[in-house]
């Protein structure tokens, strides 16, 4: 069964460092997403991406964040200068034209 894969599973970084989280969505899916979940809190929408551009972003997704689909398979989330409050589990998801979102296992980011 096709699945969304994310790397790394866990990354520890120093405050102020740049981080790139990588995702390989399901191959025939058209819409891509990043969500995050701070420990003990609910899952929050960050950004959606369609047709090679951001289609929607939340207020969390400020100038420190960017997304890219550099080739036909990868979908990345970059945090330019990490802050302590960026520590969270980051989930990538994808979907086809209709239907549910398929989530990856998540990338846990710890900012020290």
């Amino acid at each position: 069964e096709p699945e969304v894969t994310q790397t790394p599973s866990h990354q520890v970084t120093q405050m102020g460092q740049e981080v790139i989280l990588r995702c390989v969505p399901i191959s025939n899916h058209l819409y891509f997403y990043w969500y995050r979940q701070i420990l003990g809190q609910k899952v929050e929408f960050l950004v959606s991406f369609y047709n090679n551009e951001i289609s929607e972003k939340s207020e969390i997704f400020d100038d420190q964040f960017s997304v890219e689909r550099p080739d036909g398979s990868n979908f990345t989330l970059k945090i330019r200068s990490t802050k302590l409050e960026d520590s969270a589990m980051y989930f990538c998801a994808s979907r086809r034209d209709t239907g549910e979102l398929f989530f990856g296992e998540g990338s846990r980011l710890t900012v020290l």
Binding site: Y31, Y33, Y35, Q41, K42, V43, E44, F45, S48, F49, Y50, N51, S55, E56, S58, F91, A93, R95, T98, E100, L101, F102, F103, G104, E105, G106
Partner: protein
């Protein structure tokens, strides 16, 4: 904007007992509704979804949910809980538009199963 409320932060049931997790949503039109389950340190697994049609939907692991438009609810049920069902459950409402979409999640309900 859409929103989701899960009134119960934590529920404890005995193994073999029935379960109902509550979910209320707010959205102007008929939404797409989902229940996801998350085990500790794991990702989000889809239990079931409602898009249209029959308001009682069946999912994996013996779960079902009923969409009630008049109550803006989408409660999750299971007739007999197993110890392996202990996890966090998230209700979500989806708004699908031509250019994109987002899922809005509730706060989650932590389920504990006593032996």
């Amino acid at each position: 904007a859409q929103s989701v409320t899960q009134p119960d932060i934590h529920i404890t049931v005995s193994e073999g007992a029935s379960l109902e997790l509550r979910c209320n949503y707010s959205y102007g039109a008929t939404p797409y509704l989902f229940w996801y389950v998350q085990s500790p340190g794991q990702g989000l697994q889809l239990l079931l979804k409602y898009f249209s049609g029959d308001t009682l939907v069946q999912g994996i692991k013996g779960f079902e949910a009923e969409f009630k438009r008049s109550q803006s609810s989408f409660n999750l049920r299971k007739p007999s809980v197993h110890w392996s069902d202990a996890a966090e459950y998230f209700c979500a409402v989806g708004v699908w538009e031509t250019s994109g979409s987002r899922l809005t999640f509730g706060e989650g309900t932590q389920l504990t199963v006593n032996p």
